[in-house]
């Protein structure tokens, strides 16, 4: 094997945290190398060192056999290394071409640089099959297309070695598959690719060789063809992990939450939810599958009282909610509806608050936390400590800022907060988004345990595997409607087709589409653009 990049004995500490400990690896030229590890294992730090964002405390980097010093990303780019970040660095209101040219304008007059760039983009499209309309506004592109722009940006700067940091974190399963097809094409054209991820499925699907990191150390190296997900999971976590979930058959009881012809129309008249009928019974887990942006977010908002329905009725533990009798989140919570939101950082917690303050979000007016108009801080701290104990949140420090916890621990804290209240109905959005394997196993077991004590659980997830292993019944959403219901254990292909709007059960004259449906997509674009803006504005 010829190595494009060799790292030797790389060491890096941040204060007292030893993030990378004497790591060595070789990245083969023209192949896809995966680096897998849990959040915080040091993968991103290692790649940031390679890309010149951080300096290693010790160790050498060799590109094509020559030792190099990576002082800054400029050096890395000069050596043909490009990085596609997890969070896109694109300007929404610029066109694709403008974004690609940004930082490489080639002179004070934009016109000359852009016409050269246009020609170069066409060449890249020809060579690598990366098609994006150069004149489209980035805000109007789907997330998958935006990522393609990021890749184009890197290739445009002459990169021959591509580092992708958790590229699928923001993608739907379909978009992830598309990305992998693109990576395969790039590889066939001789581009060297490094894929950083914590998802086993992606390593197995896309890479030729995989390195496993744990707690800052490189613990194993395998040819992908000679390993399996179970072995990798064990190497990552450091103990045996059960990827299969054991659960007993459900014992559904009375209907706790019923939706009848539920509809939601936004201010501009766009139909976000249409004719939703569903019954959620005590003691069962109902899974909502679908490509993200097909109304799942809105469904959770309506069911949890954040948005009132425009049409139809919702019956929650005996209370009727409709357009003229809207509920609010506080009332829903009092009725026994707990809600673990899809995006914990944006909704489920306040990053700047102490963990103990996050632990009472939404329950802060309960008498156990406030008496005589005063918050009982000691009681809040003790309560948080109990939650952390029960759900194994680490580190167990109620006074620590919520943002200092890893994604998995944040999620466990939010789940703990909602589940310890022993709700009658539990709404869970993306239970394991950005969560490590070890924590996923735990979260799934807790959800099943909740079901077994008689809670009605609704799980919304874009991870098909998760829905398949958790749910007792699966409803598929497409373009704001529930297009079908299948029993647990349905095959993935059928579900995938239903998610793409190509198939409904029972069979109905639904227009088949090759890719994910356009209407679902359009809505996602708008939403994503808004989200990005909001986030941008906060920084």
């Amino acid at each position: 094997m010829t190595a494009a990049i060799e790292l030797e004995q790389i060491d890096k500490s941040f204060g007292s945290v030893h993030a990378v400990r004497g790591v060595s690896l070789a990245i083969e030229k023209g192949a896809i190398t995966g680096i897998i590890g849990e959040n915080g294992a040091g993968k991103s730090t290692l790649m940031s060192i390679l890309y010149g964002l951080y300096h290693a405390d010790a160790g050498t980097i060799r590109v094509d056999g020559q030792p190099v010093r990576m002082e800054s990303p400029h050096h890395a780019i000069a050596h043909g290394i490009g990085m596609v970040h997890q969070h896109f660095m694109l300007i929404d209101s610029f066109t694709v071409l403008e974004n690609v040219v940004l930082g490489a304008e080639g002179g004070p007059l934009l016109a000359r640089g852009t016409s050269a760039a246009q020609a170069e983009l066409e060449r890249l499209e020809r060579d690598y099959g990366l098609s994006v309309d150069p004149d489209a506004l980035v805000a109007e592109l789907s997330v998958g297309e935006q990522q393609r722009v990021e890749i184009l940006k890197v290739l445009f700067r002459g990169a021959r070695i591509l580092i992708l940091d958790e590229p699928s974190a923001v993608l739907t399963p379909q978009e992830t598959d598309q990305l992998f097809r693109i990576l395969a094409t790039l590889k066939a054209r001789g581009v060297t690719i490094v894929l950083i991820t914590h998802k086993l499925r992606e390593i197995m699907a896309a890479t030729d060789r995989v390195y496993v990191m744990r707690q800052g150390e490189m613990v194993a190296e395998r040819a992908t063809a000679e390993t399996n997900p179970e072995e990798l999971a064990e190497l990552m976590v450091g103990r045996k992990v059960r990827l299969q979930l054991d659960k007993a058959p459900p014992h559904p009881g009375e209907v706790r939450l019923g939706a009848e012809r539920l509809g939601l129309v936004d201010r501009r008249g766009v139909r976000l939810l249409d004719d939703i009928n569903l019954d959620l019974r005590a003691g069962e887990i109902v899974g909502i599958a679908g490509v993200s942006g097909n109304g799942q977010t809105e469904l959770l908002q309506v069911l949890s009282g954040i948005r009132p329905p425009s049409t139809g009725t919702l019956t929650v533990c005996g209370r009727r909610v409709d357009a003229s009798h809207p509920g609010d989140p506080a009332e829903m919570r009092d009725l026994g509806v707990a809600h673990v939101p899809e995006d914990r950082l944006r909704q489920g917690m306040v990053a700047a608050f102490r963990a103990s303050e996050t632990a009472i979000l939404g329950y802060h007016e309960q008498s156990q936390f406030s008496r005589n108009f005063l918050l009982r801080q000691p009681a809040v701290g003790a309560y948080c400590a109990r939650l952390m104990e029960r759900f194994d949140v680490r580190p167990r420090v109620p006074g620590l800022r919520s943002s200092s916890f890893s994604g998995g621990n944040q999620q466990k804290l939010v789940l703990a907060r909602e589940m310890v209240q022993e709700p009658k109905v539990l709404l869970v959005g993306q239970p394991t988004r950005g969560v490590d394997i070890g924590a996923i196993e735990f979260i799934h077991r807790e959800l099943v345990r909740s079901r077994d004590v008689g809670c009605a659980v609704l799980v919304v997830s874009v991870e098909l595997d998760e829905i398949l292993s958790l749910a007792d019944r699966i409803l598929v959403m497409f373009a704001g409607r529930i297009v079908g219901e299948v029993a647990a254990g349905a095959d993935e292909r059928t579900l995938g087709l239903m998610m793409a709007g190509a198939k409904t059960s029972p069979a109905s004259p639904f227009r088949p589409k090759t890719e994910s449906g356009s209407s679902g997509r359009k809505r996602k674009r708008g939403k994503r653009a808004r989200k990005e803006k909001r986030r941008g504005g906060k920084r």
């Binding site: 204060g15 009282g305 609010d328 909704q347 608050f353 303050e357 979000l361 007016e365 005063l374 918050l375």
Partner: protein, 355 residues
């Protein structure tokens, strides 16, 4: 480029503001030097002018009282994610409320009743003046920064109209109301302008601290400030919370009227807020939006106000305008450029630490 570690808490709270103040004074020193005055001599006069005698300390604290009120007003709104630029107008209208209550009742009520009524009226009018922009923000989406700024002008115009046409004392040539009866005099502390309003201001500090960090409403308010979506998720009505935050903010600003009118002027006069409302933004920023920090920042601003006046009195070369420049520089370094020295401190502290 190296990843910088966040500053430890002590450096954030104590060291950074001190470095900011030092930078401001060094810059001031250079300017004072340029106009031909010995900077150390000027500094000495400034400090003696602010803290040199019981009387000067009294004035410093009297000014600080106003800065505490307006600083607290800015900070409580800020914790709710709202930038209240209208402290000036709210203080003005708060004074109007205070004055109206006194003019209506000072002949009938004893002092122990008159003063609470005056305070309540000031708070109420200040809150009402803040409630309008708050309502516009909550229900109509008009940006609070714009509306509160405009309400400052409306307040100033309204006061001129009222003082010239309505409230002017019958035999007066200047636009001011009749004098208050002694039952409406805020008890003085020491011989000069300093009065019991300082105690009220300190009580407000404790009150704001308890409210923000030890009540469920303060908790909800801070949630809204940090993450409005999480606040909605938690069941907080953002409109009502916006109203609450702004009304409390306006009430605190309105209390400037108590210190000024019941404490010193003993009548309604024009232009008594004199920029305290705007300086409150700098006080709050410098005090890290925390009541304790605000007290410290307010004392610094009070000292600059008092010491600066003495300075221009003693050294003719340093004019009144020059003192404003000095204050401006302190606001610049402690407010606008508050984060300027942070990377330097981070690098410095990182050197100290074994890596």
């Amino acid at each position: 480029m190296n990843a910088r570690l966040p500053l430890p808490a002590w450096a954030e709270i104590v060291l950074l503001p001190l470095v900011n103040i030092a930078l401001a004074f060094i810059t001031v020193g250079i300017i004072v030097r340029v106009i031909g005055v010995d900077p150390l001599h000027a500094l000495e006069l400034l400090v003696v002018g602010a803290f040199g005698s019981p009387e000067s300390i009294g004035y410093t604290l009297y000014y600080a009282t106003n800065f505490i009120f307006t600083g607290l007003a800015v900070s409580i709104a800020f914790h709710g994610g709202l930038f209240n630029i209208g402290g000036e107008g709210q203080a003005y209208i708060g004074g109007l409320g205070c004055g109206l209550a006194v003019l209506a009742f000072d002949r009938y009520l004893p002092i122990w009743l008159m003063i609470p009524v005056g305070i309540a009226a000031a708070a109420l009018f200040g809150a009402a003046w803040a409630a309008v922009p708050a309502w516009l923000q909550a229900w109509r989406g008009s940006h609070i920064v714009i509306t509160t700024i405009m309400f400052n002008f409306v307040a100033a115009a309204l006061m001129v109209y009222l003082m010239v046409n309505v409230l002017i004392a019958p035999d007066s040539m200047t636009p001011q109301s009749r004098g208050f009866a002694p039952s409406a005099f805020m008890p003085a502390m020491g011989g000069n302008a300093l009065n019991l309003s300082l105690a009220l201001a300190l009580v407000c500090c404790v009150g704001v601290w308890v409210f923000l960090w030890h009540t469920p409403w303060g908790y909800a308010l801070r949630t809204m400030g940090h993450n409005p979506e999480a606040a909605v998720y938690a069941g907080t009505d953002l409109r009502r919370m916006t109203m609450l935050a702004m009304c409390l903010s306006g009430a605190l600003a309105g209390l400037v009227g108590v210190n000024e009118l019941m404490g010193v002027h003993h009548r309604i006069v024009l232009d008594f807020p004199a920029g305290y409302g705007f300086a409150g933004i700098a006080v709050s920023l410098m005090g890290r939006n925390h009541p304790f920090g605000i007290v410290l920042a307010a004392v610094l601003f009070g000292a600059l106000q008092q010491g600066g006046a003495e300075l221009s009195f003693d050294i003719p070369d340093i004019t009144r305008e020059m003192v404003v420049v000095i204050q401006g520089l302190v606001i610049l370094f402690c407010g606008a450029l508050v984060h300027l020295p942070r990377p330097w401190l981070q690098t410095l502290l990182a050197l100290r630490r074994p890596s």
